[in-house]
């Protein structure tokens, strides 16, 4: 049994920031992650991180944009914290060495981003996530924080309603071990890979959200799934919003700048949900190229600017689509991108379960509401990662070291579960996983309706049953990918079920959740958060009011 006061599950930005702060505040903290921290999905973030650094900008303006962008579902107290703490959190990263791009006079450069009233997105070329993640990994290294790399956490352990640790499998030998902690922080990122088209890393399977859900912790607003309007055709690698920020145009096959008719004022810079639906509509109505994609064109921009500020995108287009965007437009289509929902969590990262915190994309503190603005997610990981780390470190004094009994029992349960998992019978995990992805893409995607969602739920129930029966054939001891795949698949189906159930219940369109049978936002009935609890029969839904401080609702027009 391994013990630390605080253990953070996940080595992405939110996890590293939480661990670093807990360490600074004197806690004995460790990080456990299924990939080496620098391989986490955060590394792939391109466009930037928002902070009102400019003299003519303010946290209030940032908060207003965020609330409006969220289609009024964000909790406004949390948004205020996010935006107030943004400048300091960014300057802190700069002081630790993040290689932010600079203005001529040496300040941190900022670019315009969709849905924002000011150019307030700080960036490091188009490798912002990479630069932020490396900076934090460096500081974690410097602090000497213990990291358990390539361990997959498979079940949380509770004792009288308190989280006392978890069981994890060491990927090097496939053996489970048990970790005891006064406080466990889940920072396991998103679940993008339950969709067929997703910008997320292949490792983003949402397992951490599933862990909490199965342990009885509620999930919030899971039906709000962001689809990024511009992902590279077929491979679905993200083409950052920064490309439009730098002046890119969207064209359909008739060479019309179609965004002019969907968002006359902000055109290509309208928020993601609006642009994603516009592109999907163009494709569905036959104005896409090969009925699959539209063009994102930057050939009119200065090639030098493209090479300097969008070099990563240029490389991606050339390597993965064979297109040099200096000369030819980039083929793009919408794809799953971000999860607004997640484990219900407070402004200090605390979940309703004692001893359990959740931060980053796996959490729902609700700063993004029904739709996240570009550049706000990296900010969310750092601001609330830091707060959770501090809060966790401060509360360990009042907590006893957990008892071993349940921890040992759960380790035994896991061992039994694992030995039952091997066998020659049963379906191939990949078949079931591909079906899951197709169901989510087709029936719980950009456009939703009652009939499709009902079908999706039926299909998912069936898949859950099939996933239960999957057996692992490979007996390899180290790096048994098939074993990990089989374990993860069960929780992927759980999460899909919660998303589809929340989406079916929510009879309105708000932010990223768009119902073709209820196209208007309905504040009277639906200005509320969905809260989902696990039951063996499927998710049980409750609702919770949105916290409102100073912003009133109005129609979102861009």
């Amino acid at each position: 049994m391994i013990y630390h006061d605080v253990i953070v599950i996940g080595g992405g930005l939110s996890g590293l920031r939480a661990a670093l702060e807990a360490h600074k505040k004197g806690a004995d903290v460790a990080i456990i992650s299924k990939v080496s921290p620098i391989r986490s999905h955060s590394v792939a973030a391109q466009g930037g991180i928002n902070a009102s650094l400019g003299a003519d900008d303010s946290w209030k303006a940032h908060a207003w944009d965020t609330v409006k962008g969220s289609d009024y579902l964000a909790d406004q107290d949390a948004v205020e914290i996010l935006c107030k703490e943004a400048p300091e959190i960014v300057l802190e990263m700069d002081n630790w060495g993040t290689s932010f791009s600079r203005t001529q006079d040496g300040k941190i450069a900022q670019r315009p981003f969709g849905g924002a009233g000011f150019p307030r997105t700080c960036y490091a070329g188009d490798k912002t996530g990479h630069n932020l993640l490396y900076t934090l990994q460096e500081q974690v290294l410097k602090a000497g924080i213990k990291v358990y790399p390539e361990w997959m956490v498979t079940r949380l352990v509770t004792d009288g309603g308190r989280c006392t640790g978890f069981v994890a499998i060491n990927i090097f030998n496939s053996e489970p071990d048990v970790f005891k902690a006064k406080i466990t922080v889940i920072a396991t990122g998103g679940y993008g890979r339950i969709y067929k088209r997703s910008t997320n890393s292949i490792i983003n399977r949402g397992f951490g959200i599933g862990l909490a859900y199965r342990a009885g912790v509620p999930l919030q607003d899971m039906e709000f799934v962001q689809f990024h309007p511009t992902t590279l055709w077929d491979s679905n690698i993200l083409i950052t919003e920064g490309v439009r920020g730098e002046g890119g145009y969207l064209y359909n096959k008739n060479h019309q700048r179609f965004m002019k008719s969907y968002a006359p004022e902000s055109i290509e810079l309208a928020p993601r949900d609006i642009v994603a639906r516009a592109i999907q509509t163009e494709i569905n109505e036959g104005r896409g190229i090969s009925n699959e994609y539209v063009y994102l064109d930057i050939t009119h921009l200065d090639p030098q600017l493209i090479k300097e500020r969008l070099s990563g995108i240029r490389e991606i287009s050339m390597d993965f689509a064979g297109v040099d965007p200096v000369k030819k437009p980039i083929p793009v289509q919408p794809g799953q991108h971000y999860s607004m929902g997640g484990i219900l969590s407070s402004i200090n990262g605390k979940t309703p379960m004692d001893g359990l915190y959740a931060v980053g994309e796996c959490a729902c503190i609700s700063v993004h509401g029904a739709n996240r603005l570009g550049g706000n997610s990296l900010l969310d990981t750092l601001v609330f990662g830091k707060r959770a780390g501090q809060h966790a470190a401060e509360s360990i004094q009042d907590k006893d070291i957990p008892q071993d009994e349940n921890l040992i029992k759960e380790l035994e349960n896991e061992k039994r579960f694992l030995s039952d998992l091997f066998g020659e019978s049963g379906e191939n995990f990949a078949t079931v996983r591909n079906e899951l992805k197709n169901i989510m893409q087709e029936k719980v995607g950009v456009f939703r309706n009652h009939e499709n969602l009902e079908h999706a739920i039926e299909d998912l129930k069936n898949l859950k049953y099939r996933a239960q029966k999957i057996k692992v054939k490979s007996r390899a001891k180290s790096f048994n990918l098939e074993l990990l795949d089989a374990i993860e698949l069960k929780r992927m189906v759980d999460i899909a079920h919660v998303i589809a159930t929340g989406a079916l219940a929510r009879q309105e369109s708000r932010g990223a959740h768009y119902r073709t049978d209820f196209i208007e936002r309905d504040d009277n009935n639906w200005k509320k958060h969905t809260i989902a609890y696990y039951t063996p029969q499927g998710p049980r839904l409750e609702y919770k009011d949105v916290t409102i401080t100073s912003f009133y609702s109005e129609k979102r027009e861009y």
């Binding site: 620098i38 002081n95 790096f479």
Partner: protein, 250 residues
């Protein structure tokens, strides 16, 4: 169809397996490996994460050249003629055989111990890189904003672009001969911090002391193989030469 010859290893047992995979348009080597792992042999193992050439997980030897599996299209590598060429020749003057041989040879990244199949001991590589103290030691409560010239940031960027994939380590002759050699990536990272105006002078001095050794900047053969293979255009050899000069001038 494309044929992949994959070097397998478990404990002391080493063998080669041949798999035939249906080649889809735009398929890269990582996708081909997934086809195998999902449909033909669930026991095959390799590392991956982003599938977009940004996370640095999937370095391996593809036709004798270390590269990122997700960044190489199967259609391109299956045409390479490896029978008559050495890796650096493939790099400098890629030759495609007249008829495509439809065969791709995949082996684990060299110069690091093999854990199983295509998974190598990255911890060893990380420990080399970490020994150059790759972090900024700036004062905690710095209350002014740093002003950094765009040109300086551009210089930094060349080196911060490194994704620690270890491709350079896999081709480096110094790493082959000396397992304590700080590695092209480790030295490139050291230089990244030496270039940073936010880093304290005394930390820079300390770092020069670390790299000033036979397993540091003086271990390099200056053959530029790392520069040739780096998927992120990081020039480790350039960093090494700069540090040699700085150290000599001290």
């Amino acid at each position: 169809m494309v044929t992949l010859n994959i070097k397998r290893q478990e404990d002391d047992k080493i063998w080669y397996d041949t798999f035939h995979v249906e080649e889809k348009p735009g398929m890269n080597v990582l996708e081909a490996l997934f086809e195998i792992q999902e449909k033909l042999d669930g026991s095959l193992c390799f590392r991956f994460a982003c599938r977009g050439a940004v996370c640095g997980s999937c370095a391996m030897l593809i036709n004798k050249v270390p590269r990122l599996a997700c960044k190489k299209l199967v259609g391109d590598v299956k045409k390479e003629d490896i029978s008559s060429l050495k890796s650096d020749q493939i790099l400098t003057s890629p030759q495609s055989s007249k008829e495509s041989n439809d065969r791709v040879l995949i082996e684990p990244l060299p110069n690091l111990g093999v854990i199983r199949d295509l998974v190598v001991d990255m911890e060893h590589f990380y420990s080399l890189v970490d020994s150059v103290q790759p972090w900024i030691t700036a004062e905690e409560n710095y209350d002014k904003k740093h002003l950094i010239e765009p040109a300086t940031q551009k210089k930094l960027e060349k080196y911060t672009n490194c994704i620690l994939c270890a491709v350079c380590h896999g081709i480096c002759p110094a790493a082959t001969r000396d397992d304590k050699y700080l590695s092209p990536a480790g030295l490139a990272r050291a230089w990244r911090f030496q270039l940073d105006p936010r880093e304290l002078e005394k930390s820079k001095l300390q770092r020069y002391n670390i790299v000033d050794s036979p397993s540091g900047v003086w271990g390099c053969d200056l053959v530029y193989k790392c520069v040739a293979v780096c998927p992120k255009k990081v020039p480790p050899t350039k960093a090494i030469k700069q540090m040699r000069r700085q150290i000599s001038e001290k």
